[in-house]
Amino acid sequence: MASLKDKLPAIDPRGFVLPLLLIVVWQAVTSSGWVDTRIIVPPSAVLTAGWKWLNSGLALESIAASLFRDASGFVLGAAAGITIGLLFGTSKLVNNVFGPTFHILKHISIFAWIPLLSAFFGRDDLAKIIFIAFATLYPVALATLEGVRSIARNQYEVADVYGFTPRQALFRLILPAASPQIITGLHLGLIFAWLATMGAEFLLASTGEGLGMTVIRGRAAFRVDLIIFGMLIIGTFGMLLNELATRAETRLLHWRGHAR
């Protein structure tokens, strides 16, 4: 057992075996002529198609369009989610009146809303952004609610003793105390938003640009090279967003380490 190796934080070369093997097999299979290279395109073709696409200027437009939808939907959904979470968390009445409906609706698969949304809002950016916002709303609202509920009663009592106005209670007690959960919820929301962006672009494909729409059009045109490259780009952006969120999370929650 290479136990010493495992403890080192350095990159373990064994992790590269599988991906390399995949690429070698992929290359070998396609260059040997055993398979239809229209269906299983060689890795080199993916790179060539990707390079062409990146240089065409269409790439930038697609990426920008997707990120714009993602960001707009995320911001709207996050704002609504935090508001809903705060209202549910601070008012028993609001929670009891709207809570059951909110929690029941959560069980409808998010994509099942797309046909209804498209009936009301068409297939353009408006429908897509509403959908992305909706997908972001739930994780953020649930996390915020959890955060607000985790505030200890004695903290409220301190606020009472100091005679905090509701506004002060919100900004000096509730939001800071619930911030770890809220930030975790925002992180989750970011992942959901990207997923929803791709889902919306696949299912509500319209005339505009976008990463998902590029891929879906690639499918219609049977451009497997473009599909694979598009997938890689989608995955890369998803990972970048996740990485960004992780970094922001640790930085924003840095103070907790000292507080304890």
């Binding site: 064994r14 029941i104 069980h107 698969s109 209804l116 009936a119 696949f202 299912l203 690639g218």
Partner: protein, 284 residues
């Protein structure tokens, strides 16, 4: 139900069967009685229903966009009694079942391999974590090329969605098996199979069941997506088909069914999970 604290408070004497639950709502901090809470929870949906009724009566929106509540109800009754809904539901559930079976087995195998063997982890983990970050949705166009738009596509896509939660939960469950238990196994000189059956599996079971629940929820999510994308039967297909004909009553019935199935999955699997986590080892 969020804070156990409030549940433990001395019982407030309930006005049994009170039809005016609003009166019994205490100010912040007290737990309204159960009747009161259910009553309050029903007010909002009833209000929505009323609003919906008014909106259709006064034709605020064209009836194609907003069918009458009674009409949607009729559609529901029709679809249930004709067996149409059950037929599509059965197709969808069958797809989920196969995918959970296949994806679950693969996920369990990967999870066990990474959890039990350090070298398997060294080989698999980096690729797996990369794989797990790719949304299933992004795979679907490629899957269509490989598998066509038939049954294989759905099973393959949903399977991919199931693998990750199963594998992650299994891996973490085994990773968190208390060292004490592993040491006991070593003292008794358990064989690999014995370690697996008597230590790893029982100790990791609650975590694995958590993964099962996650996996089923993911499967349901992926199913709806892939059926919306390309399908000729199933709930998602019915949803798209009805939308294209602007039969929003059918759309609503489908959405309600999808929600109901999700709810049942969540409750049933959550119940199983809680039942088995009772005897989970607590020591670390």
């Amino acid at each position: 139900m969020s804070t156990t604290q409030s549940l433990d408070e001395p019982l407030v004497i309930e006005p049994v069967g009170s039809l005016l639950p609003r009166i019994s709502i205490p100010s912040l901090g007290n737990l309204p009685n159960r009747f009161g809470r259910i009553g309050l929870g029903i007010i909002f949906p009833l209000l929505l229903l009323y609003l919906w009724q008014i909106a259709t009566e006064r034709v605020w929106l064209p009836p194609q966009l907003l069918p009458e509540p009674a009409f949607v109800w009729e559609t529901l009754v029709d679809m249930v009694s004709s067996g149409e809904l059950a037929g599509h539901l059965a197709v969808s559930l069958q797809r989920v079942a196969w995918s959970v079976l296949i994806g679950g087995s693969i996920g369990l195998a990967i999870g066990f391999a990474m959890g039990l063997s350090k070298s398997a982890k060294a080989y698999l983990y980096p690729s797996f974590s990369l794989f797990s970050q790719f949304p299933v949705i992004a795979w679907s166009p490629l899957m269509i090329i490989f598998f066509g738009i038939d049954e294989a596509l759905k099973i393959a896509t949903i399977t991919v969605a199931v693998i990750v939660p199963f594998a992650v939960a299994t891996y973490k469950g085994i990773e968190n098996v208390p060292v004490k238990l592993r040491e006991v196994g070593q003292i008794y000189q358990f064989s690999f199979a014995q370690t697996l059956w008597r230590i790893a599996l029982p100790a990791a079971l609650p975590a694995i069941l958590g993964g099962v629940r996650q996996g089923c929820m993911q499967a349901w999510l992926a199913l709806v997506f892939v059926e919306l994308l390309a399908s000729s039967e199933g709930l998602g297909y019915l949803l798209v088909y009805a939308r294209n004909l602007m039969q929003l009553d059918v759309v609503m019935v489908c959405m309600a069914t999808i929600g109901l199935v999700g709810l049942v999955f969540d409750f049933a699997l959550g119940f199983v999970e809680r039942h088995f986590s009772r005897w989970a080892p607590k020591g670390r």
